[in-house]
């Protein structure tokens, strides 16, 4: 059943390919804005690169959170999901995984390219990509809770970011921190292992919390 | 700590702005919060007065959010 929901969402995403690209283009545009605003001076950009790329990734993945459940809510499929014989948490995990595959993975693949734009050394690019690889699923999982809570509310999009941003901060700190540590020559395994820990914790708790939020929102 | 006169107390050893700045804002927030609750309460009691007395039994179905 888990693969049904993931397959369905990927099928939906492929049928509406523009959603995938808008998130990616948003990410690229935001990252390229900074050199224009801060000036092309290289070592300044190199210093800022991790923070800029991570904040842009965070905002890009939050962009599409609003639609995570609202389409299903409007056409009634969400009701069917709540009434499915499969536990709701598994279905929510599936949806978060689909969201990550559609928004998170393109960001991870695009990040090295943008890193070069910021003249990041090669091993820093590697650390950046792995940190994004570990961090973006956490963004999708925690974001699923925010999306579930603000289902069907007017102004829900803004509200999701207000609810979810404070919870993203640890991921942001250790994500950007790992790249900075690497560029400063320190070892970055501590950061990545913490990101991995966040990932495990959110895989266990976030779907359950999002499922109960869905039940509350659908009362 | 005995302040010889009033103006020395106000000057607070040169840090007057910061000390009184923070105390004033704190008390402003406290008083403001209390006034807000009283205002919220007064409008509510007044509104209930109209609803219940006007027709004895509450018939007007207003959503609380819009009324207050």
């Amino acid at each position: 059943m888990f693969f049904w929901i993931v397959q369905r969402d990927l099928l939906l995403a492929m049928r509406r390919r523009s959603d995938v690209l808008t998130t990616l283009f948003f990410f690229v545009i935001v990252v390229s804005l900074f050199p224009l605003s801060v000036g092309p001076e290289m070592n300044m950009l190199r210093m800022m690169a991790p923070g800029v790329v991570w904040v842009a990734a965070l905002l890009a993945s939050m962009l599409s959170l609003g639609r995570l459940f609202s389409n299903d809510y409007l056409d009634g499929t969400l009701e069917q999901m709540l009434l499915s014989s499969q536990s709701l948490s598994i279905l929510v995990l599936g949806k978060a995984l689909a969201h990550w595959l559609v928004t998170g993975v393109p960001l991870v693949l695009m990040a090295p390219v943008l890193g070069i734009q910021y003249d990041l050394p090669v091993d820093a690019l590697f650390v950046l990509t792995t940190s994004l690889l570990l961090g973006t699923p956490v963004l999708s999982l925690i974001g699923a809770i925010g999306a579930a809570l603000t289902l069907g509310l007017r102004g829900g999009g803004v509200l999701v970011s207000l609810l979810v941003l404070p919870l993203y901060i640890p991921v942001l700190i250790f994500g950007a921190g790992s790249v900075e540590a690497d560029m400063a020559g320190l070892d970055y395994d501590a950061h990545l292992s913490l990101l991995g820990a966040f990932l495990l914790v959110s895989i266990v708790f976030a779907p359950w919390a999002a499922a109960s939020s869905l039940r509350v929102s659908m009362e | 700590m005995d302040w010889s006169n009033w103006s020395e107390f106000l000057a607070m050893g040169g840090y007057g702005i910061y000390v009184w700045g923070s105390y004033l804002v704190t008390f402003a927030c406290v008083i403001g919060e209390i006034l807000l609750i009283f205002k919220r309460r007064r409008t509510l009691v007044k509104r209930y007065g109209q609803i219940f007395d006007a027709n004895g039994e509450d018939t007007s179905y207003q959503d609380d959010k819009t009324a207050v």
């Binding site: 369905r8 499969q86 | 959503d63």
Partner: protein, 204 residues
């Protein structure tokens, strides 16, 4: 056997209904009647566990629905006002996925057969967004053909259907009742159907 004991529902500030009791046995049909806004849909949503009643309890074979959770859902099919079909997916994909939700992975062939039975032959591979409202209702109702659930909860199943579809759905319901299935439904048309027991629940 589905039983509701003194159910009550509050929507916002107003209580829609109070002290609603009923018992529905195998092969029984319960029709929920009442003017618009009397809480019929709310009652159906409470019956299938989507929302909690303000008071009272619902039991399925003696056990409370709340504790049963997924076990109860696997015995139940709910078709509400919303058709539950994704516009971008074809009718076939919609049917296979919605039946997968209720745990019955049906084969492509079964799905096509069900769609043909519902009069959608030749339109299986059309995306749902090009189908009319009536056709989309047929896709939703096609789930009843493939579902093995015992309890059907249908919110105005006959709405937006043409005469032939209505007759088709009626035969479907009768067949389900004969096989000892149970149906709770709301409808504004009068249905002359034979069933082991017909319960009329009137909501004021």
């Amino acid at each position: 056997m589905l039983q509701g004991s003194d159910l009550a529902c509050v929507r916002g500030d107003r209580n829609l209904f109070k002290a609603v009791n009923f018992i529905l046995k195998d092969g029984g049909l319960m029709q929920v009647n009442g003017p618009n806004g009397s809480g019929k849909t709310s009652l159906l949503r409470i019956l299938c566990g989507l929302s909690a009643p303000a008071a009272g309890k619902i039991t399925w074979n003696g056990k409370s629905v709340r504790t049963l959770g997924e076990a109860y859902y696997s015995e139940l099919v709910y078709i509400g006002h919303l058709s539950g079909t994704k516009d971008d997916l074809t009718a076939l994909e919609n049917l296979r996925i919605s039946s997968a939700f209720s745990g019955e992975n049906i084969s492509e062939h079964q799905a096509v057969e069900a769609l043909v039975d519902m009069g959608l032959g030749g339109r299986e591979h059309l995306p749902a967004k090009v189908l009319s409202q009536g056709q989309r209702r047929r896709v939703a109702l096609a789930r009843l053909l493939v579902s093995k659930a015992k309890l059907w909860i249908l919110d105005e199943p006959l709405a937006a259907l043409d005469v032939s579809a209505i007759q088709l759905v009626k035969n479907l319901l009768e067949r389900h009742l004969k096989e000892n299935g149970m149906i709770v439904m709301t409808t504004h048309q009068d249905i002359d159907m034979t069933a082991a027991s017909i319960v009329q629940l009137q909501l004021t």
